[in-house]
């Protein structure tokens, strides 16, 4: 957690500095009001605040190990489903090793969603949606090819019908 906070703190200081610089570049004099009516005033104050908070995170992560020890001791096990005793959580032992690790699963999810987002507007909506849902199910081993194709096709047609035809919502 200390390392995460250090990284977050540095990112916040940099973000604050960037926004502060951006605020200074906005007009401060020729706005019809004095400095207190300038459009950069509130962003500048907020940028300083966020940079200070980031700095506090950095200092805490380097100087206050007690804080993190207390934080770890006070965690609520109820909210961690992995700790369930009676096994109400299904095992997925038949899957390859990478599927049991959080990192690759998150990366795959982001990659699939990103591909879908980029396909929208370039490929017809129903085709893109059917391909995305089918691909997602197949890559995460949710079902076999035929079932995944069926779910993907049905879902994409249903979404198109319900939202475009019934709700009159524009689809990407």
């Amino acid at each position: 957690m200390e390392k995460k906070d250090l990284t977050s703190g540095i990112a916040l200081v940099l973000t604050g500095a960037a926004f502060f610089a951006g605020s200074l570049l906005l007009p401060w004099k020729d706005t019809g009001y004095d400095w207190f009516g300038a459009p950069g005033l509130v962003p500048a104050i907020l940028a300083v605040l966020i940079a200070l908070c980031g700095l506090r995170l950095v200092i805490r992560s380097r100087k206050e190990p007690d804080f993190y020890a207390r934080l770890a001791a006070g965690e609520n096990p109820l909210l961690c489903p992995e700790d369930d005793e009676e096994g109400s959580i299904g095992e997925e032992t038949a899957h390859p090793a990478w599927m049991h690790r959080e990192g690759p699963r998150a990366v795959l999810t982001v990659a699939l969603c990103c591909t879908y987002v980029l396909l929208l507007g370039r490929v017809p909506y129903m085709a893109a949606t059917a391909a995305f849902i089918t691909g997602f199910i197949l890559l995460f081993r949710g079902a076999g090819i035929l079932k995944a194709l069926f779910i993907g096709g049905t879902a994409s047609v249903s979404i198109w019908f319900v939202f475009y035809k019934i709700f009159a919502v524009f689809l990407p």
Binding site: K4, D5, S8, T15, F19, G22, L26, P27, T31, G32, D34, F36, G37, P39, L41, V42, P43, L46, L49, G54, L57, R60, L71, G74, L78, L79, P81, D84, E86, S88, I89, G90, E92, H100, R101, E102, R105, A106, T109, V110, C113, Y116, V117, L120, G121, F132, I133, F136, I137, R141, G142, I151, A155, I159, F163, F167, A168, V169, F170, P172
Partner: protein, 495 residues
């Protein structure tokens, strides 16, 4: 508000379209709430885009019903899986799941349903009674008070949504305020942080930001877990005997009051309400040793989180300040449909508070009916694997974000905020203060500069006007209360 106004508004809603919309939206809300990883905020945000073309009243029926349904729906997974469907149901796990393991799953679901129904009803009564009163006080608010109110909201929301580390809650709130500064400024219409992009001139759209931070962030988090959940509990008797509820009438009233009060505090929300009500119920209980499998604890948590909904809508209608994250989306939806909540609402739309109260009543009925009648079919929803459900949810997030403005840019924005929301979760930054900050940002900026222009740069009215003084005192008390240095000083003074 008189009973006759409420009755006439309710009777106006008694048409097939409203009833149909209330029932399907409540059912949708229950399903969203039930599924671990999908929250009430996400459900309401998703439907905000999708109901963009509805008439305002019908859109409100859909969104409020979804809100009520999803806060209630989370109790199902809390009871059956020991995993809260939404953060609002975390306290329900403590008693609900042990009851289910003792073979009382159906009974626990029945208790949760009736308690949630009573809680929502309690909330709507308070909404009808207190909104006009708070509205009168809100008319006294000037730019100074509105600015201080937005700061107060961020500080208290950050404090309560990140109780272990409030600094991160405050950072999230300030980040939300800062992100809301992108686009044309509200006074001189000068572009800020737009980098010459036409798409950014109108600022970052609220719905894509909300859907991204809550929806996409949750999808990534749900999918990254290596293991899935399965229901192994049998559900039998569902409708609880009324005498069981009457036995705990004091707990119900107390939890209802706590729910409404916590709901009325800007940005805090249902999860905090249910924890406080649960803790209070345990303190006042004749049998505290039974908690961890007690009917009373379950009733307290479920009454409070649903009563909180009515409470959270009170500041939305009177001050345009959301009491919880889903209420923030509701506020955005009202703006989208041309409704302007705030002190002038009773003047511009005198019957709107009555309409909202009547919608609450309709959705309470829908929730109770669906909750008690569709127990077994709804359990089946929990058995749908997440690798099938999540891609469908993601496609809906894209449709919801696109629908409002018809721009692909909003879909990209949603995706980027999804990644930001995911990293925020991984680093323990709560999303609720960011959302609140994003909503309150324009209000804070506009009112701060307007106040400064009126007084010629004099800051003193911010600290001398009576309402401002009260809000500042509360804000500083919250910050000082969490300061380690201040606590050490207090301890040394006591010694």
């Amino acid at each position: 508000m008189s009973i006759s106004v409420l009755f006439s508004e309710f009777m106006e809603l008694m048409n097939p379209t409203s009833i149909f919309n209330a029932f399907w939206a409540t059912g949708f809300g229950i399903i969203v709430g039930m599924l671990p990883g999908l929250t009430a905020t996400m459900g309401v945000a998703l439907l905000t885009g999708l109901t963009f073309r509805f008439m305002p009243e019908q859109a409100m029926v859909v969104l409020i019903s979804t809100y009520v349904g999803s806060i209630y729906g989370g109790s199902r997974s809390a009871i059956l899986l020991n995993i809260p469907g939404t953060p609002a149901n975390a306290a329900t796990c403590i008693d609900g799941n042990p009851l289910a393991r003792r073979g009382e799953a159906g009974y626990a679901i029945g208790l949760a349903t009736t308690s949630s129904g009573i809680g929502t009803f309690f909330g709507l009564v308070c909404l009808a009674v207190f909104s006009p009163l708070l509205g009168k006080i809100a008319l006294q608010f000037g730019s100074w008070e509105f600015f201080v109110l937005s700061i107060f909201g961020i500080v208290i929301c950050g404090n309560l949504t990140a109780p272990k580390d409030p600094l991160k809650g405050w950072i999230a709130g300030i980040a939300g305020l800062l992100l809301s500064q992108v686009g044309q400024d509200p006074i001189q219409a000068l572009p800020r942080f737009t980098f010459g992009q036409l798409q950014l001139m109108g600022g970052l759209s609220l719905i894509p930001v909300l859907v991204g931070a809550y929806g996409v962030g949750e999808i990534i988090e749900v999918m990254q877990r290596p293991r899935d959940y399965t229901v192994r509990t049998k559900v039998r008797q569902v409708i609880p005997p009324l005498r069981d509820l009457f036995r705990y009438w004091k707990t119900i009233i107390r939890s209802g009051i706590i729910g409404v009060l916590v709901g009325a505090i800007p940005g805090v929300g249902e999860d905090t309400a249910s924890w406080i009500a649960y803790d209070t119920a345990k303190r006042f209980s004749d049998h505290p040793e039974e908690f961890g499998g007690s009917h009373e604890g379950l009733i307290a948590a479920e009454t409070a989180n649903n009563a909180c909904i009515g409470g959270a809508v009170i500041p939305v209608l009177t001050l345009a300040v959301p009491g919880s994250a889903p209420a923030a989306v509701l506020l955005a939806a009202m703006w989208l449909h041309g409704i302007r909540p705030g002190p002038l609402l009773p003047i511009e739309q005198p019957f709107f508070i009555g309409t909202v109260t009547a919608i609450f009543l309709l959705s309470t009925i829908a929730m109770t009916v669906l909750g008690l009648s569709l127990v077994r079919p709804l359990v089946k929803v929990l058995q749908v694997p997440r690798m099938i459900l999540m891609p469908v949810v993601f496609t809906l997030c894209c449709v919801g974000s696109f629908a409002v403005s018809g721009r692909l840019f909003d879909v990209y924005l949603m995706f980027l905020f999804g990644i930001l929301g995911y990293f925020m979760r991984r680093n323990d930054f709560p999303a609720a203060p960011m959302v609140l900050g994003f909503i309150l940002g324009p209000m804070a900026d506009d009112n701060f500069r307007r106040a400064m222009i009126i007084t010629g740069g004099d800051l003193s009215p911010f600290f001398t006007r009576p309402i401002s003084i009260i809000l500042w005192l509360l804000t500083f008390a919250v910050i000082l209360g969490r300061s380690t240095l201040f606590r050490k000083m207090l301890r040394s003074l006591k010694k």
